[in-house]
């Protein structure tokens, strides 16, 4: 198995070399099946709608929103994979970063994307503080503990934002946003940037996890915390660092997604469920899997709209989700730990 085409599973591959080709075949056949199913879905959509343009626009929109979902899910999958924490506050972190970005734009007139410089470090510190203060003891502990802590935190953050900024919806305008036609479909510049941002962030995380000492330490802690401690890795520090990197990713996602949404304190709820589905599809802790899973969910959502005339696009998403859980509980690109 070459590392590049499997994404970056956080769990190191401990399989002996002779099993590598088998895993490789398994991966390729899975990717093939997914691609084939998508092609069939697109053909059926074509027959259903009878308009090539509508289906093509749906595919383009699906890929673009899918990139956004992947972007939002990346930090979440990292936290899930390494710390085993079901982080229900991820959406709220995203919202906090968006308000931070909005506030800075209002105060200084900065270009929205430049607020990355502040949003990412601030969210990093916030994540570190939250992990140290609230979650240190919850990793790997009973599920309801983590659920309650992170859910409580998200309620706290949401209501704090509500108190501070009010419920009035706010919009972030991207100066010089443009549209261009792509074979008849419309692509908005801001959405394309968010998609490219997802690819870049995925690449960065992949590089961090696979090519740096820090990444190796993080993966070691994920694979076997007591073992990592024995060879001198500070497990608690790695956990805090991972959580902080995960929330910093939410910060980056928020800045890129800002111009695409209407900013309200409850915005996080809009993406929370989708992000969790994407994480499970892509395999816990697999950042490239999160990107692919995001694309898949984006496409499924848009195509469901064509099939069912918009009777909840989430229906299609959950059908796919349940199928995957049933057939591959470890996710499409995850592996049995």
């Amino acid at each position: 198995m070459t590392e590049l085409d499997t994404g970056a599973p956080v769990v190191p591959d401990t399989a002996p070399p002779d099993r590598k080709t088998k895993a490789d075949k398994g991966f390729l056949s899975r990717a093939g099946i997914v691609a084939a199913v998508l092609v069939v879905a697109i053909v059926v959509a074509l027959l259903q709608s009878g308009s090539g343009l509508v289906v093509w626009q749906s595919v383009v929109t699906g890929i673009l929103t899918g990139g956004l979902y992947g972007l939002i899910a990346m930090g979440l999958t990292l936290i899930f994979g390494v710390l085993d924490i079901v982080n229900f506050a991820h959406g709220a972190f995203l919202t906090v970063a968006m308000f931070l970005s909005f506030g800075m734009i209002q105060a200084t007139g900065l270009h929205p994307y430049l607020t990355l410089v502040v949003a990412v470090p601030v969210l990093f510190l916030l994540g570190a503080a939250v992990h140290r203060g609230l979650l240190s003891g919850a990793g790997g502990r009973s599920l309801e503990n983590q659920l309650l802590i992170t859910l409580g935190l998200s309620l706290l953050l949401e209501n704090g934002l509500l108190m501070f900024f009010g419920a009035e919806p706010k919009t972030i305008d991207l100066p010089g946003d443009f549209q261009f036609p792509l074979l008849g479909a419309v692509v908005a510049g801001s959405r394309l940037y968010a998609f490219l941002g997802a690819v870049v962030l995925g690449g960065l995380l992949y590089w961090l996890l696979r090519r740096t000492r820090l990444g190796t330490a993080i993966r070691a802690v994920a694979a076997n915390a007591p073992g990592a401690a024995l060879v001198g890795i500070n497990v608690r520090r790695m956990h805090t660092l991972t959580f902080a990197i995960g929330t910093a990713c939410a910060g980056a996602a928020a800045v890129l997604a800002g111009p695409l949404v209407t900013v309200t304190p409850t915005l996080g709820e809009q993406f929370n469920i989708t992000a969790f589905v994407v994480v499970v599809l892509g395999g816990m802790g697999n950042v490239v899997g999160a990107l692919v899973g995001g694309l898949l969910i984006g496409l499924v959502e848009q195509l469901t709209t064509i099939y069912l005339g918009g009777q909840s696009s989430l229906l299609g998403v959950f059908v796919v989700f349940l199928l995957v859980l049933f057939l591959r509980p470890q996710g499409l690109f995850g592996r049995r730990a």
């Binding site: 709608s49 929103t65 409580g152 309620l155 706290l156 209407t262 309200t264 469920i273």
Partner: protein, 414 residues
């Protein structure tokens, strides 16, 4: 054990983060407590926390302004000038909280209730009001279902969902014919819950009667939708010449952005009970994108000098433009005070009978005085057509309520 712990924990959390947004009950001691002496109490139930807090607070203030106006004019004259007092409750936008708050305000001596902005909450409050035999005058409640149960104590000031959608179809026919481009086929984009689907169904029925074609009918999930480009492309491919949109603020703004990028071949974008297209905020958020958008909805009467004066007063007092919801709350409190005045009593049953027979001039657009049909719906509730023009929302049809003439074009196709 674990499930119970989870539930208990969640309950505790919910309590932790809920602010106390209502007035304290004053000596709640049975239904008749404190009705016979002191001020006459009216209970206002609105969502002043949660995601609808902006509108909820607007409406509470509108009700308060009405109470202030009544007191400034000498209180309830038939009761020897007794003053009126507003008891407030926060529904948090939740049906169960609305229900318990309604019970609390009734126990505190409210002779009537006003509220609640959300249909689901009003449905529950109407049940409490009916059980306690206390009149409930709804300022904003879109759903028509509440008025099919034969409740005696439920009244509504705003035009209902069906009335707005029917008027939207009639106005569309009239305005398009006036412009020499009679409407052929309407695509309907709506959010998928009761609110959007109800508007779509009522509009479709009315359009069929008028001989207007309908299709395609496209729905979306307002809570999760993040891009409507594909849906607008469907509209473009369908050859419809008008797009009707029934959604909330956020999703309707998304639709406007998608329309701007896809540029479908339309003669008009037609809001139906739309949560965005008649809001000043939409005019600033969408800027050039939202220019010339139409919207059929309830609205404060911009042609009535009394309404203009009230909105100026609100602006001065709270530093915020007064929205239609707040003006409807003002109207509802006026109706209640009028009922108490006519009944010369604080017995809720007598007040109910007086309200049922009342005729009160509204500050919102109406066909005449507020007057209730046997089912409790306002007979003269009257939606108006608005359009975004020259950077503000203007009333454009019917002519007797118009500030300017409708301009049946779209901004991206001169």
């Amino acid at each position: 054990m674990s499930a119970r712990m989870l539930v208990a924990g969640l309950g505790a959390l919910a309590l932790l983060v809920t602010g106390c947004g209502g007035s304290a009950p004053m000596g709640a001691g049975g239904a008749a407590a404190g009705r016979d002496e002191g001020p006459v109490k009216i209970g206002a139930l609105h969502p002043v926390s949660g995601s609808n807090a902006v509108d909820g607070l607007q409406m509470r203030r509108g009700a308060q302004l009405a109470v202030d106006a009544i007191n400034a004019a000498g209180g309830i004259k038939s009761l020897g000038g007794r003053k009126v007092e507003l008891l407030t409750g926060d529904t948090q936008g939740k049906a169960d909280i609305g229900q318990s708050e309604a019970q609390r305000l009734i126990s505190a001596g409210a002779v009537s209730l006003v509220g609640t902005y959300q249909s689901a909450v009003s449905t529950n409050v109407a049940v409490v009001a009916e059980r306690n035999r206390v009149p409930f005058v709804m300022d904003v409640t879109a759903s028509d279902a509440i008025f099919s149960h034969g409740y005696r104590y439920a009244f509504r000031v705003q035009p209902g969902s069906k009335a707005i959608a029917t008027a939207a179809a009639q106005y569309l026919k009239a305005v398009s014919e006036q412009a020499g481009k009679p409407v052929r086929k309407v695509a309907f984009l709506h959010e998928q819950s009761d609110f959007g689907s109800g508007a779509a169904d009522a509009f479709t029925a009315a359009a069929k009667q008028l001989g207007i074609g309908i299709g395609p009918n496209i729905s979306y999930d307002a809570t999760t939708v993040s891009d409507l480009t594909a849906q607008i492309t469907q509209v473009k491919a369908s050859g419809a010449d008008v797009l009707a949109v029934a959604g909330y603020y956020r999703d309707s703004l998304l639709a406007a952005k998608a329309i701007a990028s896809v540029k479908p071949d339309l003669s008009a974008v037609w809001g139906v009970s739309n949560g965005a297209y008649d809001q000043p905020k939409f005019v600033t958020d969408a800027a050039a994108v939202g220019n010339l958008y139409f919207s059929t909805n309830y609205h404060y009467d911009a042609t009535n000098p009394e309404t203009v004066a009230l909105r100026e007063k609100y602006q001065k007092q709270y530093g915020d433009p007064m929205r239609t919801g707040a003006v409807l709350s003002y109207d509802a409190v006026q109706v209640i005070a009028h009922g108490v005045e006519q009944a010369a009593s604080t017995d809720p049953r007598k007040v109910r009978d007086a309200i049922a027979a009342a005729q009160v001039a509204p500050l919102t657009v109406g066909r005449g005085p507020i007057q209730f049909a046997p089912n409790g719906d306002n007979r003269n509730a009257f939606p108006v057509l608005m359009q975004v023009r020259d950077g503000r929302v203007q009333q454009v049809y019917p002519p007797e309520k118009a500030e300017s003439r409708p301009d049946y074009r779209v901004a991206w196709r001169p």
